[in-house]
Subunit: 285 residues, 2 copies
């Protein structure tokens, strides 16, 4: 089975569009982009387009790459106070001279749609009941499993390859709270393939093209990698591939995400969904 | 090798006593005990005694078991503002009618010597460089490994059995940041013993007497359990045993903690150490 995030994300976006159309007031997302990294600019553009599609207003601020930290914090605070803004997104990575965690921690807890505030990460870690905002990519992975009938993770061996604070560590926490037995592997792991071949559910987020070339028979494989590899046979000169060698492993899997069109689109869908949730929670008050 | 926490904790306490004796001002620990649970009263008594030994002043507040949440929060706030208090300890568990995490989150971040504030847990999760205060038992386990020459965990398979927010989850995070490959098992794990037999370092914190009866040859075994089992052959009618069947596995291990006298005393030593660190950090300001 192919876990088509591109398809599911469209369903989710249409659901959101429908729900938002029934609201008189509209949710709003504040976006802060610092600098001119081409990838970051593309991501922000995609997020804005997705917002427009579902009916989330977006308020975006573009700051120069040499901006002072105080200025960024000030802009976050403006969004914190702005009643039209229900979610705040700081596009990462930030330039090196800025203290990323300090800026992320300035975001109001209930507007933290990326789930990167330390207190929200703490809630995720201890499985706090009132933890509504978890990081988007891990949440997108769960949603992709749930909506494909693969959400029962109790007792399953889940192996996460990669330990980033954006994907690897939070997805491990989410899986643990779903009663999976969770193993986190990384660059220092000895006997990586032994762990990988033991995974009922394998989640790979390391950023190395075709890094994993074998899996357990019947595994569910979630490939978070987005890597460019040279390919002269196509016009643009490169292809996008995942961290898993799709062609080599696909026939052994029970389900696998394609790259592109797997986890990637789910991340944006979850950002929209979190912004809508933050908006609805605000309205309840 | 026996990992004698009772012995190491004495060394640490003597080191602290020596360091504190050289300070004109003294560190202080504020302790809040709610209710009359016998175990909790014993733990508080042990902690106070340990404070006195090393020269940490203790300020303890005993509240009735039916105390209002607002009253507890008020007392925490008094300690937050009290310049003689550098660390604050809320003895857990709290009575059911109190919101434990809300009370723990009231503790000033830099006085959070138990490391249970959500923001400190978040820092632990993302391996924040400025994370000084981590939970005492996990820290005690690391110290026990480090001071016995077993602290190089890079690439080791660490298996944690139990996923409590006080021990299992935070110790898994600490081990991951030490570059171990970490697996977290629990009551829902399928094939537990396969995971256990694969552990270079096994950490068990489930609260079930003699639950684990086999390990990998040459494993390092950390037993966090403290369980009473009936024993008519001793005067008090019971013995304290760990979660690991010590007699059955000890000859296979490279190192193992006894119970009692293993991890337990390390927890208190770390509490004192954290209080001293919080005091020194305060003085730097």
């Amino acid at each position: 089975m192919l876990l088509r995030g591109s398809f599911l994300s469209k369903i989710i976006k249409n659901e959101l569009k429908n729900k938002i159309s029934k609201q008189i007031k509209k949710p709003g997302l504040g976006i802060i982009l610092v600098g001119d990294k081409p990838d970051s600019k593309i991501y922000v553009k995609m997020k804005k387009k997705a917002c427009e599609f579902v009916g989330i207003k977006n308020f975006d601020i573009h700051l120069p790459s040499d901006v002072a930290e105080g200025k960024v914090l000030e802009k976050v605070e403006e969004f914190n106070r702005d009643d039209r803004v229900h979610g705040i997104l700081i596009q990462l990575p930030l330039p090196k001279h800025l203290n990323e965690q300090k800026i992320l921690n300035k975001v109001r807890l209930d507007k933290d749609v990326d789930g990167f505030h330390l207190e929200n990460i703490g809630k995720l870690t201890v499985n706090s009941k009132d933890n509504l905002l978890v990081p988007c990519t891990p949440h997108g992975i769960l949603e992709l499993l749930d909506r494909n009938g693969l959400g029962d993770l109790s007792g399953k061996n889940v192996v996460v390859v990669g330990r980033s604070k954006i994907v690897g560590v939070p997805v491990a926490m989410l899986m643990l709270h779903r009663n999976a037995t969770v193993t986190v592997c990384h660059s220092r792991t000895v006997g990586l393939m032994d762990h990988v071949r033991n995974a009922d559910v394998l989640i790979v987020a390391v950023g190395r093209a075709n890094f994993i070339d074998d899996v357990k028979e019947g595994a569910v494989v979630i490939d978070v990698g987005i890597n460019r590899v040279d390919d002269d046979s196509v016009e643009k000169g490169y292809r996008i591939v995942g961290d898993v060698d799709f062609e080599k492993v696909k026939d052994k899997t029970k389900a696998i995400t394609p790259v592109p069109g797997g986890v990637g689109p789910m991340t944006i869908a979850m950002l929209l969904s979190h912004t809508y949730d933050a908006f609805m929670n605000r309205n309840k008050e």
